[in-house]
Symmetry: C2
Subunit: 117 residues, 2 copies
């Protein structure tokens, strides 16, 4: 597929090849909306960011995010510029996202989630 | 410019047409790294998100972010999928980003910043 990008945007240098935003929202137990934090997000994101740092993958940015808005689907992260949302549940899931998508440039289809807004 | 997108990525439905991440980091006065918050970020982002909500622009996502990593350049926000970083300083700057880029799909060149990592 070829995507047309307006010239002005194409001229803007990219800071990162890929940029991960991961939800760190932690609501108290029993909160009606739940949260990524209450579904075990934090150790997963800490693993992901440490892995990027340890392997010196500077071309992938990692930013802690507030609520991404689809709390029941968490833990939620999104990777740009591809606009792929993932809901990893285990450390192995995180490792696969790092190796296959963030380093390898391929989709981890089994972990993709498409939130309905 | 034509950008090749691997088929698997092109098949993933996009949750948002554009997604704004804005740094809400607030470090105490005198902190050596400074922060977007200490440079007046919060009222700007509140204005931006209220504006999106008030105008019912649901196809543009807004997410509060932690530190984006280039603190002296703040207040910092980034718009994906274009990967454009902006450093607005005034409410008028924010309004121009909403009208011209987020709604209009065109770059606000005078507010672009390209952080060096």
């Amino acid at each position: 597929m070829n995507v047309h990008v307006a010239p002005a945007f194409a001229d803007v240098p990219q800071v990162y090849k890929r940029h991960v935003f991961a939800c760190y929202t932690q609501r108290p137990p029993g909160h009606p909306r739940g949260s990524c934090g209450s579904q075990g997000a934090q150790p997963l994101w800490d693993r992901l960011s440490r892995k990027l740092e340890a392997e010196g993958i500077g071309e992938v940015g990692f930013t802690a995010a507030g609520c991404l808005g689809f709390c029941r689907a968490g833990p939620l992260m999104v990777v740009y510029p591809e606009g792929v949302w993932y809901a990893p549940k285990t450390p192995e899931d995180v490792d696969e996202i790092v190796e296959t998508h963030l380093k390898g440039g391929e989709l981890v289809e089994r972990l993709v989630i498409v939130p309905q807004r």
